[in-house]
Amino acid sequence: MEKTSQLKKFLKDLFSSQRLAVLATQSKRQPYGNLVAFMATDDLKHLLFATTRATRKYANISKNPRVAMVMDNRSNQEADFHQAAAVTATGVVKEVEGSEKEPLLRLYLSKHPYLKDFVSSPTCALLKMNVETYYVVRQFQNVMELHIKK
């Protein structure tokens, strides 16, 4: 069977090849989904994304920080059904503040340099998801779970 290190490498490669992810939040028992520009930390413990504080997702997270995020490498071709991989991460989101913000922001911009103006705005928040579990789907129906140690 695949080793943890192999799966982690697979995840890192997948995350660096993709820019956007689907973020799922909820409010009053109503799920809500939207696209975010994401970035994974090297230890895979965190997923970073940014949003302005007036958004629905920010409001949802403020009330309930438990979220899910979906990343995948589909090409929108038929071949996706046997080739594409999709990863669902579940965990808890926190806004990045204080001394942590500067290095994480630099990291985030190293992947998304075009978002410099956006994330520099005082209205924009950098958010950090502490991942608890990755659910990795490959070959259409094979699912592995990677539980991230705290």
Binding site: K3, V143, E145, L146
Partner: protein, 725 residues
């Protein structure tokens, strides 16, 4: 763009569109060799077909169902079977059929043809795909020809083709197939010739038979063989076979018949003709620059060249991979009939005799040294039967496959495994054993005092139940042997008692297969054929049934031999224990022999079963294997690592094991679902699951490490998916 063109119009730049076989013949035809008239269907037609009909991604999903390296040969056959069924169920879209129809109609209106594969890469000098794909002989009429074009396309995904393409690193995603439609030449004598003998580079080989060479190619008809000096063409040796049969065209297809007596005594070729064919190989070799393997036929003294390809030796990449060996097990009908005769007439009776003879032997009089020799002798006997199991019984399993393919080709059922329902006739040895158990369990169910005495591990020998139990154990053993890799037989009767009590606590399991359904399927299968062909279909069904039964029974018979080896080992162990020389369990017979022979030797004991460490970080949630018994089941897992796991089995649990060994089938009626590490639809466990209508998924190598006894699991036997948790 035209999808089909005459052979002689193929140009150098078209090679990829037509494959090596058609391209070589086009060249030979151009230089004036006597090549049968032919049309060639471009790979583009194949591509359009799979794209247009939505087959492309369905095929790739099937091939990528799981990691190819982890697939056993039986799983590859299953994948190939399912893909072939997709082709059988998908008509050629009318635009494509229209484009092919009129050129075929024009050229072959009333003529019979051979429909041959010509896959790009197939006949290059690096990759010999000889015989991996199908050819169909003596096909007549435009619609029938189109039908066989589709079958040749399907053969691009045969088990052997899948394995070899992977071995050669060819990209499966880019696979495509051209088809050669060649006018049949009903030669009186045919054969093959190797410009260079693969076993001796200084020689050439010419093989010849009477009739068509289909019989030679599939091994049904033994050819005359000439070895020639490659440099001079001088005949070095003529190997004369027992000339008995020949393959001829008849109706649709070919037919094997007894060779007329006057021909049987005369070689199919004169010395002059052997030289003529040798000349042909030299000429073809000159044209292509490498030695060729050619198929030829002689009709009214005209020598035809049917196909030519470079000679290649198989690459050694597959060393250690047993799958290519399995793929050589494809057998012809004739070959399987002979094998069945040998198995049923000689091998099984000899095996039963041998086991009985061993059982009669009294060893109480043997000294320790003599007992050691007896254990060694029994090991040899067991080893000999294991070798026969591999050389004869395993190849005979192909009888099921042969019937399955024939059934699917003629009946075209939606479920590619429907043929299994016809094969199951409920007469398997392990089912007989289960019936025996059920009879005893029903006695326990109805008799409370009997149940109470079983709980205390007591039975009265004289009563009906005691006699029944003795008879059962005499016939089938005490159910504790042969679990997993090690030989363990130490449970005694207590194990059976526990099992019977568990069985008695629940209503009896029923075999699913209704005799009426089997009868109905059988009748509607046979009704499809005209009188003459019905005989063949019925014979093939009978062969398939024999093969199905043997897949189960051979293990039981082999189990009896093994039991006799184990009995001698038990006696040795008992003696050593009495002498106080064993601590722990000695399972290696060599250790026992050594200890019995040298009083000072201390035998090594078995290491406890290693539990696979499960990384807490990584867990499988859902694993895809092979669907092997339709249905869905949820329940607690019982992972079988030793015989005690088996005898603790509770009704409604999911059986998780390496493979359902025939000696463990008695828990199958208790189980709600089955998960096996070994993969395949035609393996023993799948057969038994299907007989009882129990959802079953095979081919989950992680099953016994990722699933633990007590885990909640879901078995999706329709899709072949196991979900844990």
């Amino acid at each position: 763009m035209s999808l089909i063109i005459p052979l002689h119009q193929i140009k150098e730049e078209d090679r990829e569109q037509f494959g090596g076989k058609a391209f070589s013949l086009a060249i030979l035809s151009r230089i004036g060799m006597n090549v049968p008239d032919a049309l060639c269907v471009k790979t583009e037609a194949y591509k359009q077909f799979v794209n247009f009909a939505g087959l492309r991604e369905r095929i790739l999903l099937e091939v990528n169902r799981k990691n190819f390296q982890e697939m056993r040969w039986e799983e590859m056959w299953d994948a190939a079977l399912r893909i072939r069924n997709m082709f059988l169920q998908t008509p050629i879209p009318s635009e494509i059929a229209e484009a092919l129809r009129s050129p075929i109609e024009e050229r072959f209106k009333d003529k019979a043809v051979v429909v041959r594969s010509s896959a790009p890469g197939e006949d290059s000098s690096q990759a010999s795909f000889a015989g991996l794909h199908e050819s169909y002989i003596n096909i007549r009429g435009t619609e029938a020809i189109l039908e066989h074009v589709r079958l040749v396309w399907a053969s691009l995904w045969s088990d052997a083709a899948l394995l070899y393409r992977q071995e050669l690193g060819l990209d499966i995603e880019k696979s495509a197939m051209a088809v050669l439609i060649q006018e049949i030449v009903n030669g009186e004598r045919s054969g093959v010739a190797f410009g260079k003998n693969p076993n001796d580079g200084s020689q050439s080989v010419i093989e010849a038979v009477y009739g068509l060479n289909a019989g030679l190619v599939d091994g049904t008809v033994e050819p005359d063989r000439w070895l020639l000096d490659r440099a001079t063409g001088k005949i070095l040796r003529h190997i004369v076979p027992n000339r008995e049969k020949w393959m001829i065209s008849s109706g649709e297809g070919t037919h094997l018949e007894a060779l007329p007596v006057d021909q049987a005594s005369v070689p199919p070729l004169t010395v002059g003709e052997v030289e003529r064919i040798f000349g042909l190989t030299i000429r073809v070799e000159k044209e292509f620059g490498t030695p060729q393997d050619v198929e030829w036929t002689l009709k009214a003294d005209a020598l035809y060249l049917l196909q030519s390809r470079p000679i290649t030796a198989l690459s050694s990449k597959t060393a250690g991979d047993k799958r290519p060996w399995y793929l050589t097990l494809r057998r012809s009908f004739e070959n399987l009939k002979a094998l069945r005769k040998r198995i049923e007439g000689q091998l099984i009776p000899a095996m039963v005799d041998e086991a009985e003879c061993l059982a009669r032997q009294d060893w109480t009089a043997l000294s320790d040294i003599q007992l050691a020799d007896e254990i060694a002798r029994r090991m040899d006997i067991h080893g000999r039967w294991v070798a026969i199991y591999w050389s004869d019984f395993i190849p005979f399993a192909h009888g099921m496959r042969l019937f399955g393919q024939f059934y699917n080709d003629t009946v075209r059922p939606e479920d590619p495994y429907e043929f299994m329902d016809l094969l199951g006739s409920g007469q398997l040895k392990s089912l007989e054993r289960n019936q025996g158990l059920e009879e005893m369990a029903s006695m326990v169910r109805e008799d409370r005092s009997l149940a109470l005495s079983l709980k205390e591990f007591k039975t009265d020998e004289d009563e009906g139940f005691g006699r029944m139990l003795d008879e059962f154990i005499r016939k089938f053993g005490d159910l504790s042997c042969s679990i997993g890799e090690e030989i363990q037989c130490s449970q005694g009767r207590e194990g059976i008692f526990r099992l019977l009590l568990e069985m008695a606590a629940h209503p009896p399991a029923k075999q699913k297969m209704e005799p009426r359904r089997v009868e109905y399927l059988t009748a509607s299968f046979l009704d499809r054929f005209e009188e003459e062909q019905r005989g063949f279909a019925s014979e093939l069904l009978d062969l398939g049934r024999a093969s199905y039964r043997l897949r189960d029974d051979d293990n039981i018979y082999l189990g009896r031999i093994e039991k006799q080896m184990v009995a001698a080992m038990d006696e040795g162990r008992r003696r050593l224990e009495k002498q106080g020389r064993i601590k722990g369990d000695v399972t290696d017979p060599k250790e026992l022999i050594e200890a019995l022979k040298s009083p000072r030797y201390l035998p090594k004991t078995r290491l406890s079963i290693e539990k696979v460490e499960i990384a807490s970080e990584l867990k499988a949630r859902q694993i895809v294997g092979q669907p092997a018994g339709p249905g869905i089941a949820k329940g607690k897992a019982r992972v079988i690592l030793s015989s005690s796991d088996l005898l603790n089995f509770k009704s409604g649990e999911i059986l998780v094991c390496n493979a359902v060994e025939p000696n463990m089938t008695f828990v199958v009626p208790l189980s709600a679902g089955i998960i096996e590490r070994r993969g395949g639809m035609l393996i023993h466990g799948a057969i038994i699951a299907r007989e009882y209508g129990i959802p079953c998924v095979t081919g989950i190598p992680e099953a016994t490490s990722q699933i633990q006894t007590g885990n909640q699991v879901t078995v999706d036997g329709y899709l072949g998916i196991v979900t844990i948790g």
